[in-house]
Protein backbone atom coordinates (compact mmCIF):
# COMPACT_ATOMS: atom_id res chain seq x y z
CA UNK A 1 0.00 0.00 0.00
CA UNK A 2 1.18 3.43 -0.90
CA UNK A 3 0.84 5.26 2.40
CA UNK A 4 2.02 8.52 0.94
CA UNK A 5 -0.94 8.55 -1.38
CA UNK A 6 -3.29 7.95 1.48
CA UNK A 7 -1.81 10.85 3.40
CA UNK A 8 -2.02 13.12 0.44
CA UNK A 9 -5.66 12.22 0.29
CA UNK A 10 -5.39 10.75 -3.18
CA UNK A 11 -8.17 8.34 -3.86
CA UNK A 12 -7.35 4.72 -4.25
CA UNK A 13 -8.60 3.60 -7.60
CA UNK A 14 -11.57 1.32 -6.97
CA UNK A 15 -12.73 -1.36 -9.36
CA UNK A 16 -15.45 0.91 -10.76
CA UNK A 17 -13.01 2.78 -12.96
CA UNK A 18 -11.74 -0.50 -14.35
CA UNK A 19 -15.34 -1.53 -15.03
CA UNK A 20 -15.91 1.71 -16.90
CA UNK A 21 -12.81 1.32 -19.06
CA UNK A 22 -13.74 -2.24 -19.96
CA UNK A 23 -17.29 -1.26 -20.81
CA UNK A 24 -16.17 1.52 -23.09
CA UNK A 25 -14.19 -0.94 -25.15
CA UNK A 26 -16.98 -3.54 -25.20
CA UNK A 27 -19.64 -1.04 -26.16
CA UNK A 28 -17.57 0.54 -28.91
CA UNK A 29 -17.04 -2.90 -30.38
CA UNK A 30 -20.66 -3.94 -29.94
CA UNK A 31 -21.95 -0.82 -31.69
CA UNK A 32 -19.54 -1.25 -34.51
CA UNK A 33 -20.67 -4.77 -35.21
CA UNK A 34 -24.09 -4.71 -33.62
CA UNK A 35 -26.14 -1.58 -33.42
CA UNK A 36 -25.65 -0.52 -37.01
CA UNK A 37 -25.17 -3.93 -38.49
CA UNK A 38 -27.48 -4.09 -41.49
CA UNK A 39 -30.11 -6.78 -41.24
CA UNK A 40 -29.47 -8.08 -44.73
CA UNK A 41 -25.93 -9.27 -43.91
CA UNK A 42 -26.73 -12.93 -43.23
CA UNK A 43 -28.78 -13.19 -46.44
CA UNK A 44 -26.16 -11.38 -48.49
CA UNK A 45 -23.54 -13.74 -47.12
CA UNK A 46 -25.61 -16.77 -48.14
CA UNK A 47 -26.31 -15.42 -51.62
CA UNK A 48 -22.68 -14.63 -52.21
CA UNK A 49 -21.71 -18.11 -51.13
CA UNK A 50 -24.15 -19.60 -53.61
CA UNK A 51 -22.80 -17.54 -56.49
CA UNK A 52 -19.19 -18.30 -55.67
CA UNK A 53 -19.93 -22.00 -55.43
CA UNK A 54 -21.04 -21.98 -59.05
CA UNK A 55 -17.38 -21.55 -59.88
CA UNK A 56 -15.30 -22.77 -56.94
CA UNK A 57 -16.08 -25.20 -54.16
CA UNK A 58 -15.50 -23.21 -50.99
CA UNK A 59 -16.39 -23.85 -47.36
CA UNK A 60 -19.45 -22.52 -45.52
CA UNK A 61 -17.32 -20.01 -43.71
CA UNK A 62 -15.31 -18.90 -46.73
CA UNK A 63 -17.24 -15.66 -47.16
CA UNK A 64 -16.75 -12.88 -44.65
CA UNK A 65 -18.38 -9.51 -44.88
CA UNK A 66 -18.12 -6.42 -42.75
CA UNK A 67 -18.56 -2.70 -42.81
CA UNK A 68 -15.63 -0.35 -42.36
CA UNK A 69 -16.41 3.20 -41.39
CA UNK A 70 -14.14 6.05 -42.17
CA UNK A 71 -15.77 9.32 -41.23
CA UNK A 72 -18.85 9.64 -43.42
CA UNK A 73 -17.66 6.94 -45.78
CA UNK A 74 -18.87 3.37 -45.43
CA UNK A 75 -17.08 0.56 -47.19
CA UNK A 76 -18.41 -2.95 -47.60
CA UNK A 77 -15.55 -5.32 -47.00
CA UNK A 78 -15.63 -8.71 -48.63
CA UNK A 79 -13.23 -11.51 -47.82
CA UNK A 80 -13.41 -14.76 -49.72
CA UNK A 81 -11.04 -17.54 -48.88
CA UNK A 82 -10.37 -19.82 -51.82
CA UNK A 83 -9.40 -23.43 -51.31
CA UNK A 84 -5.71 -24.19 -51.41
CA UNK A 85 -4.28 -25.64 -54.61
CA UNK A 86 -2.97 -29.09 -54.11
Amino acid sequence: MDWLKLFRGEERKGSASLAKERLQVIVAHQRHSGRDHPDYFPKLQKDLLRVIRKYVQVNEDAVNIGIERDGELEVLELNITLPEHK
Binding site: A16, K20, L23, I26, Q30, G34, R35
Partner: protein
Protein backbone atom coordinates in the same frame (compact mmCIF):
# COMPACT_ATOMS: atom_id res chain seq x y z
CA UNK B 1 -54.21 6.39 -29.35
CA UNK B 2 -52.27 4.88 -26.50
CA UNK B 3 -48.55 5.20 -26.04
CA UNK B 4 -46.89 1.79 -25.84
CA UNK B 5 -43.84 1.58 -23.59
CA UNK B 6 -41.68 -1.50 -23.17
CA UNK B 7 -39.68 -2.04 -19.98
CA UNK B 8 -36.70 -4.11 -21.01
CA UNK B 9 -33.09 -4.91 -20.06
CA UNK B 10 -31.53 -7.95 -21.66
CA UNK B 11 -30.12 -9.21 -18.38
CA UNK B 12 -32.48 -10.92 -15.97
CA UNK B 13 -33.33 -9.89 -12.46
CA UNK B 14 -32.35 -6.23 -12.76
CA UNK B 15 -35.73 -4.78 -11.77
CA UNK B 16 -37.95 -4.72 -14.88
CA UNK B 17 -41.04 -6.03 -13.16
CA UNK B 18 -40.49 -3.80 -10.11
CA UNK B 19 -40.13 -0.83 -12.47
CA UNK B 20 -43.10 -1.78 -14.66
CA UNK B 21 -45.37 -2.08 -11.63
CA UNK B 22 -44.34 1.24 -10.11
CA UNK B 23 -44.30 3.06 -13.44
CA UNK B 24 -47.81 1.91 -14.36
CA UNK B 25 -49.13 2.60 -10.87
CA UNK B 26 -47.56 6.06 -10.87
CA UNK B 27 -49.11 6.94 -14.23
CA UNK B 28 -52.54 5.79 -13.07
CA UNK B 29 -52.18 7.72 -9.79
CA UNK B 30 -51.67 10.84 -11.85
CA UNK B 31 -54.93 10.24 -13.64
CA UNK B 32 -53.82 8.41 -16.78
CA UNK B 33 -55.66 5.27 -17.75
CA UNK B 34 -52.93 2.63 -17.81
CA UNK B 35 -52.62 -1.09 -18.39
CA UNK B 36 -49.53 -3.11 -17.56
CA UNK B 37 -48.97 -6.38 -19.42
CA UNK B 38 -46.79 -9.28 -18.28
CA UNK B 39 -44.94 -10.64 -21.33
CA UNK B 40 -43.03 -13.19 -19.25
CA UNK B 41 -45.14 -16.10 -20.42
CA UNK B 42 -44.48 -19.20 -18.32
CA UNK B 43 -42.85 -17.27 -15.48
CA UNK B 44 -45.39 -14.69 -14.55
CA UNK B 45 -44.78 -12.53 -11.52
CA UNK B 46 -46.14 -9.09 -12.28
CA UNK B 47 -49.43 -10.20 -10.72
CA UNK B 48 -47.57 -10.89 -7.45
CA UNK B 49 -45.86 -7.51 -7.42
CA UNK B 50 -49.19 -5.82 -8.18
CA UNK B 51 -50.93 -7.92 -5.53
CA UNK B 52 -53.64 -9.32 -7.80
CA UNK B 53 -52.46 -12.94 -8.15
CA UNK B 54 -55.63 -14.38 -6.71
CA UNK B 55 -57.80 -12.59 -9.21
CA UNK B 56 -56.22 -13.96 -12.37
CA UNK B 57 -58.79 -15.99 -14.26
CA UNK B 58 -57.87 -15.38 -17.88
CA UNK B 59 -54.52 -14.17 -19.13
CA UNK B 60 -52.78 -12.51 -22.08
CA UNK B 61 -52.39 -15.80 -23.97
CA UNK B 62 -56.10 -16.57 -23.57
CA UNK B 63 -56.87 -13.25 -25.24
CA UNK B 64 -54.41 -13.86 -28.05
CA UNK B 65 -55.88 -17.29 -28.77
CA UNK B 66 -59.39 -15.82 -28.40
CA UNK B 67 -60.29 -18.15 -25.56
CA UNK B 68 -61.29 -15.04 -23.65
CA UNK B 69 -61.92 -11.43 -24.50
CA UNK B 70 -60.08 -8.45 -23.07
CA UNK B 71 -62.90 -7.49 -20.77
CA UNK B 72 -62.68 -10.89 -19.09
CA UNK B 73 -58.90 -10.87 -18.80
CA UNK B 74 -58.19 -7.31 -17.65
CA UNK B 75 -57.82 -7.14 -13.88
CA UNK B 76 -58.86 -3.82 -12.40
CA UNK B 77 -56.63 -2.65 -9.56
CA UNK B 78 -58.42 -2.56 -6.21
CA UNK B 79 -56.57 0.48 -4.89
CA UNK B 80 -56.25 2.77 -7.85
CA UNK B 81 -58.70 3.84 -10.50
CA UNK B 82 -57.47 3.81 -14.07
CA UNK B 83 -55.09 0.91 -13.44
CA UNK B 84 -55.39 -2.52 -15.04
CA UNK B 85 -53.21 -5.62 -15.20
CA UNK B 86 -53.04 -8.23 -17.94
CA UNK B 87 -51.33 -11.29 -16.48
CA UNK B 88 -49.09 -13.73 -18.31
CA UNK B 89 -49.98 -17.35 -18.70
CA UNK B 90 -48.29 -19.67 -16.24
CA UNK B 91 -48.80 -22.86 -18.21
CA UNK B 92 -47.89 -21.87 -21.75
CA UNK B 93 -44.58 -20.84 -23.23
CA UNK B 94 -43.37 -17.90 -25.29
CA UNK B 95 -44.38 -19.58 -28.54
CA UNK B 96 -47.97 -18.90 -27.60
CA UNK B 97 -47.27 -15.25 -28.44
CA UNK B 98 -47.64 -14.43 -32.12
CA UNK B 99 -46.70 -11.08 -33.52
CA UNK B 100 -50.07 -10.66 -35.18
CA UNK B 101 -51.87 -11.75 -32.01
CA UNK B 102 -49.92 -9.34 -29.82
CA UNK B 103 -50.55 -6.58 -32.37
CA UNK B 104 -54.27 -7.20 -32.36
CA UNK B 105 -54.51 -7.10 -28.55
CA UNK B 106 -52.41 -3.94 -28.30
CA UNK B 107 -54.55 -2.27 -30.93
CA UNK B 108 -57.70 -3.11 -29.05
CA UNK B 109 -56.19 -1.79 -25.81
CA UNK B 110 -55.10 1.38 -27.59
CA UNK B 111 -58.70 2.40 -28.10
CA UNK B 112 -59.30 2.51 -24.38
CA UNK B 113 -56.02 3.31 -22.64
CA UNK B 114 -53.56 6.20 -22.56
CA UNK B 115 -50.53 4.11 -21.63
CA UNK B 116 -49.70 0.47 -22.24
CA UNK B 117 -46.69 -0.75 -20.26
CA UNK B 118 -45.10 -3.99 -21.48
CA UNK B 119 -43.06 -5.83 -18.84
CA UNK B 120 -40.52 -7.73 -20.93
CA UNK B 121 -38.99 -11.07 -19.99
CA UNK B 122 -35.20 -11.23 -19.72
CA UNK B 123 -33.10 -12.16 -22.72
CA UNK B 124 -33.27 -11.10 -26.33
CA UNK B 125 -35.30 -14.03 -27.60
CA UNK B 126 -38.85 -14.28 -28.78
CA UNK B 127 -40.60 -13.10 -25.62
CA UNK B 128 -38.45 -10.00 -25.34
CA UNK B 129 -38.77 -9.28 -29.06
CA UNK B 130 -42.56 -9.56 -28.83
CA UNK B 131 -42.65 -7.17 -25.88
CA UNK B 132 -40.68 -4.50 -27.73
CA UNK B 133 -41.94 -4.92 -31.29
CA UNK B 134 -44.84 -2.46 -31.13
CA UNK B 135 -43.25 -0.06 -28.63
CA UNK B 136 -43.21 3.70 -29.13
CA UNK B 137 -40.84 4.22 -26.24
CA UNK B 138 -38.54 2.01 -24.18
CA UNK B 139 -37.47 2.11 -20.57
CA UNK B 140 -34.14 0.30 -20.36
CA UNK B 141 -33.57 -0.94 -16.82
CA UNK B 142 -29.91 -1.24 -15.89
CA UNK B 143 -27.92 -2.04 -12.76
CA UNK B 144 -24.57 -0.29 -12.21
CA UNK B 145 -22.63 -3.41 -13.05
CA UNK B 146 -20.69 -4.47 -16.16
CA UNK B 147 -22.83 -7.31 -17.47
CA UNK B 148 -26.04 -5.36 -17.04
CA UNK B 149 -24.66 -2.30 -18.86
CA UNK B 150 -23.37 -4.43 -21.70
CA UNK B 151 -26.73 -6.17 -22.08
CA UNK B 152 -28.50 -2.81 -22.06
CA UNK B 153 -26.33 -1.67 -24.91
CA UNK B 154 -27.25 -4.80 -26.86
CA UNK B 155 -30.90 -4.13 -26.21
CA UNK B 156 -30.52 -0.58 -27.52
CA UNK B 157 -29.16 -2.08 -30.72
CA UNK B 158 -32.14 -4.39 -31.00
CA UNK B 159 -34.61 -1.58 -30.32
CA UNK B 160 -33.02 0.28 -33.20
CA UNK B 161 -33.33 -2.63 -35.62
CA UNK B 162 -35.98 -5.20 -34.66
CA UNK B 163 -39.00 -3.08 -33.82
CA UNK B 164 -41.89 -1.97 -35.96
CA UNK B 165 -40.69 1.61 -35.67
CA UNK B 166 -37.22 0.63 -36.83
CA UNK B 167 -38.73 -1.16 -39.81
CA UNK B 168 -40.56 2.04 -40.71
CA UNK B 169 -37.35 4.01 -40.38
CA UNK B 170 -38.48 5.64 -37.13
CA UNK B 171 -36.91 5.53 -33.70
CA UNK B 172 -38.13 4.06 -30.46
CA UNK B 173 -37.56 6.78 -27.85
CA UNK B 174 -35.16 5.35 -25.26
CA UNK B 175 -34.97 6.13 -21.53
CA UNK B 176 -32.58 4.80 -18.92
CA UNK B 177 -33.65 3.77 -15.43
CA UNK B 178 -30.67 2.87 -13.27
CA UNK B 179 -31.76 0.70 -10.35
CA UNK B 180 -30.21 -0.84 -7.24
CA UNK B 181 -27.90 2.13 -6.92
CA UNK B 182 -25.72 2.27 -3.81
CA UNK B 183 -24.25 5.78 -3.43
CA UNK B 184 -21.84 4.76 -0.68
CA UNK B 185 -20.27 2.12 -2.91
CA UNK B 186 -20.06 4.62 -5.75
CA UNK B 187 -18.31 7.03 -3.40
CA UNK B 188 -15.83 4.27 -2.56
CA UNK B 189 -15.13 3.77 -6.25
CA UNK B 190 -16.53 0.25 -6.11
CA UNK B 191 -19.63 0.77 -8.20
CA UNK B 192 -20.16 2.45 -11.58
CA UNK B 193 -21.60 5.92 -11.06
CA UNK B 194 -24.69 7.26 -12.73
CA UNK B 195 -22.42 9.54 -14.79
CA UNK B 196 -20.34 6.54 -15.92
CA UNK B 197 -23.39 4.61 -17.08
CA UNK B 198 -24.92 7.64 -18.82
CA UNK B 199 -21.66 8.31 -20.61
CA UNK B 200 -21.45 4.72 -21.84
CA UNK B 201 -25.06 4.22 -22.90
CA UNK B 202 -25.67 7.82 -24.00
CA UNK B 203 -29.44 7.86 -23.60
CA UNK B 204 -31.85 10.04 -21.63
CA UNK B 205 -31.78 9.36 -17.88
CA UNK B 206 -35.32 8.97 -16.56
CA UNK B 207 -34.55 7.84 -13.03
CA UNK B 208 -32.10 6.45 -10.52
CA UNK B 209 -33.59 4.04 -7.99
CA UNK B 210 -31.54 3.33 -4.87
CA UNK B 211 -30.98 -0.17 -3.55
CA UNK B 212 -33.36 -0.58 -0.65
CA UNK B 213 -35.00 -3.29 1.42
CA UNK B 214 -38.25 -1.40 0.95
CA UNK B 215 -38.45 -2.99 -2.52
CA UNK B 216 -38.52 -6.50 -1.05
CA UNK B 217 -41.03 -5.43 1.58
CA UNK B 218 -43.22 -4.00 -1.14
CA UNK B 219 -43.16 -7.16 -3.21
CA UNK B 220 -43.75 -9.29 -0.10
CA UNK B 221 -46.96 -7.41 0.48
CA UNK B 222 -48.01 -7.06 -3.16
CA UNK B 223 -47.98 -3.26 -3.14
CA UNK B 224 -45.93 -1.50 -5.84
CA UNK B 225 -43.15 0.37 -4.04
CA UNK B 226 -44.13 3.69 -5.62
CA UNK B 227 -47.10 3.69 -3.23
CA UNK B 228 -44.75 3.79 -0.25
CA UNK B 229 -44.01 7.48 -0.19
CA UNK B 230 -41.96 7.09 2.92
CA UNK B 231 -39.37 5.04 1.08
CA UNK B 232 -36.54 6.29 -1.08
CA UNK B 233 -37.27 3.90 -3.98
CA UNK B 234 -40.93 4.92 -3.78
CA UNK B 235 -40.06 8.60 -4.08
CA UNK B 236 -37.48 7.92 -6.78
CA UNK B 237 -40.06 6.02 -8.84
CA UNK B 238 -42.52 8.87 -8.31
CA UNK B 239 -39.94 11.32 -9.66
CA UNK B 240 -39.34 9.02 -12.62
CA UNK B 241 -43.03 9.10 -13.51
CA UNK B 242 -43.16 12.89 -13.17
CA UNK B 243 -40.14 13.26 -15.44
CA UNK B 244 -41.72 10.95 -17.97
CA UNK B 245 -44.76 13.23 -17.97
CA UNK B 246 -42.52 16.20 -18.66
CA UNK B 247 -42.05 17.61 -15.15
CA UNK B 248 -38.67 18.88 -14.12
CA UNK B 249 -37.43 16.87 -11.12
CA UNK B 250 -33.88 16.90 -9.82
CA UNK B 251 -32.42 13.44 -9.20
CA UNK B 252 -32.40 12.48 -5.52
CA UNK B 253 -30.59 9.90 -3.41
CA UNK B 254 -27.42 10.03 -5.49
CA UNK B 255 -25.12 10.98 -2.64
CA UNK B 256 -24.01 8.75 0.19
CA UNK B 257 -25.46 9.92 3.47
CA UNK B 258 -22.70 11.60 5.32
CA UNK B 259 -22.42 10.36 8.84
CA UNK B 260 -21.74 13.31 11.06
CA UNK B 261 -19.35 13.03 13.95
CA UNK B 262 -22.16 13.16 16.50
CA UNK B 263 -24.26 10.58 14.68
CA UNK B 264 -21.28 8.30 14.47
CA UNK B 265 -20.73 8.62 18.18
CA UNK B 266 -24.36 7.86 18.81
CA UNK B 267 -24.14 4.94 16.42
CA UNK B 268 -26.85 6.31 14.16
Amino acid sequence: MAKIIVVTSGKGGVGKTTTSASFATGLALRGHKTVVIDFDVGLRNLDLIMGCERRVVFDFVNVITKEANLKQALIKDKRIDNLYVLAASQTRDKDALSQAGVGRVLEELSEDFEYIICDSPAGIEKGALMAMYYADEAVVVTNPEVSSVRDSDRVLGILASKTQRAEKGERVKEHLVLTRYVPSRVAEGEMLSVEDVCEILAIDLLGVIPESEDVLNASNSGVPVVLNEESKPGLAYGDMVDRFLGEDRPHRFLEAEKKGFLNRLLGK
